[in-house]
Amino acid sequence: MIVEYGHETKRTDVLVIGGGIGGLTAAVSIKERAPELDVLIVEKQTAGYSGKANKGGGVLQYFDLNRIKPEEFVEYHVKAIGSYLGDQELLAKYVSMNNFMLDKLIEWGAKLPKNADGTYNAIPTGPMTAMIGVDLDITLKMRRTAERIGVQIIDKVAVSDLLTADGTIAGATGYSILDGTFYVIAAKAVVLATGSQNYRIGSMWSSGRGDGIAAAYRAGAELRNVEFGNFAQLVKVRSHEEVVFGENNMYNRLGEFITKNFRTTPEPDINSNAIREWYLAMTSGTGPVHLEYDEPGGSEGAPLIKIWDRPYGQTFWRLNNERAQAVDTDLEVCPMLIGEQSPVRVEHDMQTTIPGLYAVGDVSYCGSAAPGAVPAPPGRNRGSGILNAVFAGISCADSAVAHCKSSAMPEPDEEQISGSIRRVYAPLERKSGCTAKDVIRKVQSAVGPMENSVYMRADRIDAALQTVLEAKELAKTMKAVDFHDMLACHEAEAMVLSAEMHFRASVMRKESRGWFLREDYPEMDNKNWLKWIVVKNSDGEMKFYTEDVPYKKWPVQPQDV
């Protein structure tokens, strides 16, 4: 079978999977520390263009560390956003490194706006935080930096499986989406930077299809906080364009200002109560919901996008806005599931539970536990998406270098390789069957509705899980017509896995906390649920267990325990 599709074997000290901002930062940081190591990025599309950093608002979270102490932000975040479920030490490290990271990005080629006195031109977004605009060529600049210092890059190769040897990482397999060539890449250390799970729903989040999460799961890595993969945002109902901060201006069909029903104090960003409010309006007959602003055409998010001179991203935003405005006849809104499940469990050096396997950026945001009870960026913390990826990419470097230096080049296991080949080409070899989209459609029908995945209740979770399990059966019969389609089949399998984990963990967590919202358990339960839910593939069985959050060792503690 290998001969039929072509076969390439490669060896590298460090293999980075994914060429978005997280993977590029990791590759550059490792190469800077140890230029003698071979660093290879493998990207299923084109490194520098892929990922999400170049498709969003292009904002970086900024902390004025002369004014705000990291521990002050941590206290605010733990209480207002993370709801005591986060690793406070790691979050404090992220805040402390803010200025260092911004300076590094400039060194790596990004242009960040500064004032005449040399300080950053930052726009306040709350009492503690501000945002700095960065042009959307940030990932391209990083790619050029990576290539200049000797990082190798292979585009259009999708990684399928992680290889291990005696429980330690040994490399990965993959295939060209252009001609199907099978790749076996032996590596001493592997950095997973494949993004979150977004189920192919929101357009700009569509690169996050969970294939890296699934590969880590299959290899036996622990996943944590899978139930926090249900971010949703208000969008205009015709163009589906996201309305950042739209939740502040929600009105029902009767003209009543319904934001006041769920927002009693200023909050940093949308929370799941806004989604519940929309759902209640729709089910009680007072929907649809629309936005109203004091100024005609106003929206609070838009000025942030437009305020900086960012020539590269300007065309991108102009086209997005123009085409959307052509169909948006009013400001009716509804929520859209974004997802952002990011559960690969990592320690502070971004190492997973498999030695030598690291996970950075949106693949491990919740898995790191830094944010607590909230989905991956934007998860109520605007501007933290790019910077979290940069933080994680930098944070893995010392450990990855040390791991390489103390390891011999592993010999990939032939049995694992054969298994991967069978798995990869199975949809292509099948004579007939359903399409990848048949499976994806079913998964989307389970995760998409707000009452299934955001405003949850036991009976609805169970019904959604049954739909996902039907999709799981259907996925065994997928037929691919070419390599593009084969990739879609593997992504569909990853979506099934993510959705199954999400619903199984969600039914376990019998409380509401942070973004996580249950109709049948509306209160936060610190007595029973200061716990992380961890999931692991144990000889093919999906095993869940809980682990007490070690909150006693951190400064901010709940009062009612």
Binding site: N54, S203, T315, L319, M336, H484
Partner: protein
């Protein structure tokens, strides 16, 4: 999203074969005809209308025409299916 009906209009007369549109596509809609140095819009049904291909084309050869109405919002209310 899936099951969409977006269109991509390509006007090859001005194309200089730079390949940026191919590189910019993050969902493999665009393939590259190396011999003729031209993009092939092979999987338009998977287009996410990010407009990157159109944005990076310095010659204005590409126009993405989103069909927003074909996108499903997956909510349980008739208007939003």
């Amino acid at each position: 999203m899936i099951d969409t009906k977006h269109e991509i209009i390509f006007r090859p007369e001005q194309c200089v074969g730079c390949g940026l549109c191919y590189k910019a596509c993050f969902v493999d809609v665009i393939r590259w005809d190396a011999e003729n140095r031209r993009p092939i819009f092979k999987y338009v049904e998977d287009c996410e209308h990010c407009f990157y291909c159109e944005s990076v084309c310095k010659k204005g050869c590409i126009e993405v025409r989103p069909d927003y109405a074909s996108e499903r919002l997956l909510q349980s209310f008739d208007n939003y299916r």
